[in-house]
Amino acid sequence: MRAAINRVRARRRTVIDAAMFLVVILLITQMWLLTATLESYLAGHISVTLPGMLVSALLFAGCLGLYRVVATADEEPQDGPER
């Protein structure tokens, strides 16, 4: 019984770690996108601002979805909290 719980915990931890790693990757991409869009805007290339915003919205949606994954997987187990 205890071994089964540990296996579930380990699997869940892997899922959470992977999701958090992906959130960080998406966030770095979004930071780069924001600076690149700002540079283009300041250089007078305003046609890139709409695609920049749409891609940023997609990245945000991805972060939100991954947050839901983390929140679901990180719910406290029956036998006590795990961090």
């Binding site: 958090m20 979004q30 930071m31 924001l34 805007y41 250089a43 709409l50 920049g52 940023s56 919205a57």
Partner: protein, 173 residues
């Protein structure tokens, strides 16, 4: 936790002070991820703000034309400083050849130092961090400036040079 009487019920103090100081120091993975997602929302808000600004720029009215110099005021290689469109928007006009005049914003795109024309090297230079710009189109030749020098559109009307727009008002980069 057991009470002194041996029962397994929580003591009264534990129910009333349910926050454990040691546990309070932890940041849950959920909380950290929530913070990262909020940061992501901030990035999105920034992109939306840039997009809104670009819409406003596209709908901005055209700038009024303004005479900035006469063609006979400058010899080849000479420079004239002017302000366009506002008194705080400084520009630099250079006569590159007998028939060619170019005008740029005088603010370096790195940290807004005032740039000058180097006749010896035929380029525009920023003295602060050695940023060099091409005199032909304002592109960055060297140094830290991240983007070209904004070009001010000018046209020749008889013997007058008229500024007619800036990149910020739809005159191109």
């Amino acid at each position: 936790m057991e009470t002194p009487t041996g029962s397994s019920q929580k003591p009264l103090w534990s129910e009333e002070f349910s926050i454990q100081a040691s546990e309070d120091k932890y940041v849950l993975r959920r909380q950290l991820t929530k913070f990262l997602v909020l940061t992501s929302f901030g990035m999105l808000a920034g992109n939306v703000w840039i997009w809104a600004k670009s819409l406003m720029r596209r709908d901005a009215p055209a700038l009024p034309p303004m005479r900035i110099a006469g063609t006979d005021e400058l010899a080849v290689g000479d420079v004239k400083l002017f302000s366009y469109p506002g008194p705080q928007d400084h520009g630099i006009l250079v006569r590159v050849s007998a028939d060619k005049f170019v005008a740029y914003s005088q603010k370096c795109t790195h940290l807004s130092c005032a740039v000058y024309y180097s006749k010896a090297h035929n380029r525009i230079e920023c003295p602060c961090h050695d940023g060099y710009f091409s005199i032909e189109d304002g592109r960055v030749l060297q140094g830290p400036p991240p983007r070209p020098l904004p070009r001010i559109a000018i046209e020749r009307r008889g013997n007058d040079l008229i500024a007619i727009g800036t990149p910020a008002h739809g005159a191109g980069a």
